[in-house]
């Protein structure tokens, strides 16, 4: 089956720093989503991005489907950005295959 790997696995930042999270997938996919699981366990949809670039406030995402990767940019990070970031892909079916996650900790 398809492999979805994220890097780095862990990231520690000071408030105000910028970061880039990466998601690699091993086969062509039908679509891709980025999620943030906050410290309370809630899973928040960030982007639905099969290709191209989207921006929402301090967050932006770019997917290059032909090269099988997606990037999530976080600018001017805040403590509320802490949590685990997941990318997930649709592969041949309409169920999501989640990546391994990147755990982000932002300190004041």
């Amino acid at each position: 089956g398809i492999q979805v790997e994220q890097s780095p696995p862990d990231l520690i930042l000071q408030e105000g720093a910028n970061s880039t999270l990466r998601c690699n997938f091993s086969d062509s996919v039908n679509n891709l989503q980025w999620f943030h699981q906050n410290p309370w366990g809630q899973l928040i949809n960030l982007f639905y991005i099969p290709s191209g670039t989207k921006q929402n406030g301090r967050l932006s995402a770019t997917t290059v489907a032909t090269e099988r990767y997606s990037l999530l940019y976080i600018s001017s990070s805040q403590t509320t950005d802490s949590g685990v970031y997941f990318c997930a892909v649709f592969y041949n079916t309409d169920k999501l295959i989640f990546g391994t996650g990147t755990r982000l900790q932002v300190f004041p």
């Binding site: 679509n31 366990g41 809630q42 899973l43 928040i44 079916t93 309409d94 169920k95 999501l96 989640f98």
Partner: protein, 111 residues
């Protein structure tokens, strides 16, 4: 538009007991999915309903787990009897095409 609603938000039960989780999808969404994240691992697919029918239940871990979707509206996921390894966060999602909206999850702790 109301989102996907799950309850309870948190449940603590003893090993061997039964727990039932409920999910109310976004109104009009035919597709309903259950996922879970256990032991800090990846989020894994459990099953998929299209209306009241089980489209894919390949992710259900064993026969202690039973999912239903009454009349194609809300869904329940019953764990009976619960084991320690069932602890984790159970998510429900609904959607019409490839876009999913997830609920806030139910954190299940089996002690």
């Amino acid at each position: 538009e109301a989102g996907v609603t799950q309850f309870p938000s948190h449940s603590v039960i003893e090993k061997g007991q039964t727990v039932t989780l409920r999910c109310d999808p976004i109104s009009g969404h035919d597709n309903l999915y259950w996922y879970r994240r256990v032991m800090g691992k990846e989020i894994k697919f459990l099953l998929h309903f299209v209306k009241e029918s089980k489209q894919d239940e390949s992710g259900m871990p064993n026969n202690r787990f039973l999912a239903e979707r009454t009349g194609g509206t809300y869904s329940t996921l019953k764990v009976q009897p619960a084991e320690l390894e069932d602890s984790g966060v159970y998510f429900c999602a609904s959607g019409q095409t490839y876009g999913y909206t997830f609920g806030s999850g139910t954190r299940l702790t089996v002690v």
